[in-house]
Symmetry: C2
Subunit: 350 residues, 2 copies
């Protein structure tokens, strides 16, 4: 049920323990570049995707948008998986606002970030702001560590793999053609072009920010990255980084500011099997870091969910890590899949 | 060390348990009415008092204001007591922003409130906003309940006893001349006059909002009251209401929206002994609710702290409840007082 890529020993220590799930959400204008993101039916709607995911996670429905978190093609948000896993395993959750245009109608932890600009301009965030997010998130990581045996941190930010690519390239990680996409056809060319233009405008080169993650983020990153990294840096308990290739950017930032320890990347099988991306190839460049994948199978599920098996969505809202932590707490994978299917039907009929 | 007013049985169940301390902070323009508040050297500074308290609680220093949280007369914020108690007992803490002009430079939980207006105008907050705060805070209470065996909720809002008086009178609690003050000479006349003017402008009468707490708050309340009440309403574990006479307003709101159960008011000896106020007389009107007081003694402490024994400050930032929960977790009162004295000297010399 869990695909181990060096994670067996790490995860074995977390069996039966009590995790806290944290979802870090933010916006980047980068998501509105045509062709970049599928998270939102049209570019302007990407502003609503993260708060809608967060609301769905808490209430089983969205509040800042009408309707349900399903694309017109019938493909549901990965928050469906996350919510089901956390619910079945009785795992506590909390949302961190890293910088949003529209706040979700739920209580959340504010680290005083702001939405990120279009990285094509080379100015994603003010450097001071990046430092403040990092520092506030570090304190948040300390606080939240007091509430659980380990942390599971997920994210929702439309356009996030492009900004992650920007941060990784600026920090010297060879990530071109390796970041994932929520679309079956990964628009690597557009992502690489956007990042290259942003780096040129910002006057940075590949690897020139290897020791300056704040600069990398402020030029071509997004607010989720420092918020997520700060929580990891402040954590005093083990951490599951619940995400796909964006975790490469988080790990690069964490490594540059401190050291990599007591953590594991937790994602989905769909990410590990993605032939158009290379999570392990990214992670290996940062260090020997355990990676685990949740072996969720939607091949017998209703159409819409089955799109996940054809390369849609793949990961997000910490879906893979949520499922893995639920399994570690004793949840049954089949029961989770059945619950997700039931919930999907409910949403479709709503 | 704990003065019991019907609280012995309730508190006995919390011995050795693991609490979470929550500090709810907000602003009301009411604090700027001359003579109302001592929390801040001049009326405009009252905007900074709650965020400065919250910052001090986390970092032992303020960030949004220069200098230390001590009045020109040398009287320190009660956050000094709270911080020391939580530190010694190893109690986790988190801040909830109910509606602030200036956000503290720490991570906090946002319930999407806004600062309250001057209640003299009879329009403290939009009614919709009050409902949103209540609902978000209720969810926050549910979330935070998952992190501890019981909750200890304190507050910091300059001008808060006047808005509490407003809510209590509108809801039919005879609280005139009974609310406390952070000043040795309690300006009851000004408070009563301000509330009366606000109620007249809002078209409400004593008791006319007995079943409509949202209206009472929106006319003559403040954002702290619905945020605090919402957390209590959402809590699934026992709650210590760590405050003075303002807790009467919170309890009235909680009772009107649900029922009073599994809670206790936790305050200081200075509040219980206050001859210019009547906490028990207020609480009794809401119901048979246990009250406990922390028997903190500053009579042999340095001048400045000793002002607490002469009626300055008395309570705030959940000081009394923080000390009580620290004692329940095994902390020693003398050690806490020595630590507070040491910290006070450090701040004075800074």
């Amino acid at each position: 049920m869990i695909i181990h890529k060096g994670s067996k020993r790490f995860l074995s220590k977390l069996y039966g323990k009590n995790p806290l799930f944290i979802c870090v959400i933010g916006n980047t204008e980068t998501a509105k570049i045509p062709g970049i993101s599928a998270a939102g039916a049209n570019p302007e709607l990407t502003d609503y995707t993260p708060p809608a995911d967060a609301e769905y996670l808490f209430y089983g429905k969205c509040r800042c948008i009408p309707g349900v978190p399903i694309t017109p093609e019938g493909i549901p948000t990965p928050a469906l998986i996350t919510r089901s896993a956390l619910k079945i395993a009785g795992i506590q959750k909390i949302v961190v606002n890293a910088g949003l245009r529209i706040p979700p109608k739920i209580p959340f932890i504010d680290v005083q970030g702001s939405p990120g600009g279009n990285i094509r301009k080379g100015k994603a965030l003010d450097g001071r702001r990046v430092e403040e997010i990092l520092e506030n998130a570090r304190t948040a990581g300390q606080i939240l560590s007091g509430f659980a045996d380990y942390l599971v941190i997920g994210e929702s930010i439309a356009g996030g793999t492009t900004t992650a690519l920007g941060v990784m390239l600026s920090m010297g990680i060879n990530a071109e053609g390796k970041v994932s996409s929520s679309m079956p056809e990964n628009p690597h060319d557009i992502k690489i072009r956007v990042v290259a233009e942003g780096m040129r405008k910002a006057g940075i080169k590949k690897g020139s920010c290897a020791d300056d993650p704040v600069r990398a983020i402020s030029c071509v990153g997004d607010p989720m990255i420092p918020a997520f990294s700060g929580i990891v840096l402040g954590a005093k308990v083990p951490v599951l980084l619940a995400g796909g290739t964006q975790m490469g950017a988080v790990l690069a930032v964490v490594k540059a500011l401190s050291s990599i320890k007591n953590l594991c990347v937790a994602t989905t099988r769909w990410i590990l099997q993605d032939k158009q991306a290379d999570l392990l190839g990214i992670i290996q460049q940062v260090g020997r870091i355990p990676v685990a994948g949740a072996d969720i199978d939607f091949s017998s599920s209703p159409e819409g969910l089955r799109e996940y098996e054809r390369g849609a969505v793949k990961e997000g809202v910490g879906a893979g890590g949520a499922v893995i932590s639920a399994i570690l707490k004793g949840a049954n994978m089949e029961r989770m899949v059945r619950d997700i299917e039931r919930e999907y039907r409910r949403l479709r009929n709503a």
